[in-house]
């Protein structure tokens, strides 16, 4: 099976995520305003399309990767499944005890996918390091080091935050967006500093 180049996967995945962002910001809010029920359902479920494309790209990449890469993916997905199961069970218990409102439950469900992806990424990074390899398992990883990806994501979230501020979204979501954006920016800056120090050390 021919392996898929990490660079092309990364580009397509980024495009799918950008499409997701655009749909969430521009199409999904229409679900509250359009009058017809079928249109409401279509607008509400529109973000699923780019997400499904992103998951398809990931599945294709895993299927076309070599055995060591597949092992790291498998462990990452196993750990992520455990974390998501724990996260949703906690939410389920809190909701059953009537400690969470219906809105909070909906927000919790929306966070399942990000929690899955983050825990998958972290677990995979940890497993990959144990084998002395980069998480991408490909030399092209160096094209976009992790700090650049984090700073890029922080930039995108920054745009979303500005958009949300302009559209006067509620303070909870504005706080969530700006907090996540700041967290990503600080992590990216710290990793960038480590990257710079490592490179300077190797040149000396």
């Amino acid at each position: 099976m021919t392996r898929i180049k990490y660079k092309s996967f990364q580009r397509n995945f980024l495009l799918a995520m950008l499409a997701y962002l655009v749909v969430v910001l521009l199409v999904w809010p229409l679900a509250r305003t359009v009058p017809s029920l079928p249109l409401k359902v279509l607008c509400a479920l529109a973000p699923i399309v780019p997400l499904a494309v992103a998951m398809g790209l990931m599945a294709r990449r895993i299927l076309h990767s070599d055995e060591l890469e597949q092992r790291t993916h498998l462990v990452g997905l196993g750990v992520a499944s455990g974390v998501v199961a724990l996260f949703s069970t906690v939410g389920g218990f809190l909701a059953s005890a009537k400690l969470l409102s219906l809105d909070a439950c909906a927000n919790l469900l929306l966070w399942l996918f990000p929690v899955l992806m983050v825990s998958y990424g972290v677990a995979r990074l940890w497993v990959a390091r144990r084998y002395g390899i980069a998480a991408g398992c490909d030399d092209e990883d160096e094209t976009f080091p992790t700090y650049q990806r984090l700073l890029g994501a922080a930039g995108l979230l920054g745009i979303c935050t500005a958009w949300g501020y302009y559209k006067s979204i509620d303070s909870f979501h504005l706080g969530l967006l700006s907090g996540t954006c700041a967290g990503l920016a600080v992590s990216g800056a710290l990793l960038g500093l480590l990257h710079w120090r490592r490179r300077r050390g190797s040149h000396e």
Binding site: M1, T2, R3, S65, D66, E67, L68, E69, R130, Y131, G132, I133, A134, C137, D138, D139
Partner: protein, 65 residues
């Protein structure tokens, strides 16, 4: 498990990237095998043996338990 992959690759003047391309795996998988951090599956071990025209047991040997 110990292996002679680095030595055999050196004899053929192949880089890790060259060997990875011939075996259709990533360069980092070759590096992980050579450094003993990862033991290849039986099909990959057979592919390596076939590529170097040797028996599996002459390339891979069990390490101390």
């Amino acid at each position: 498990m110990n292996n002679r992959l680095r030595e055999l690759r050196g004899k053929h003047n192949w880089s890790q990237g060259d060997l990875a391309e011939k075996l259709d795996v990533s360069r980092q998988t070759i590096n992980a095998i050579e450094t003993g951090k990862y033991d290849p599956s039986l099909p990959l071990a057979f592919r390596i043996a076939r590529l170097f025209r040797q028996n599996i047991e002459s390339i891979f040997e069990p390490g101390k338990d």
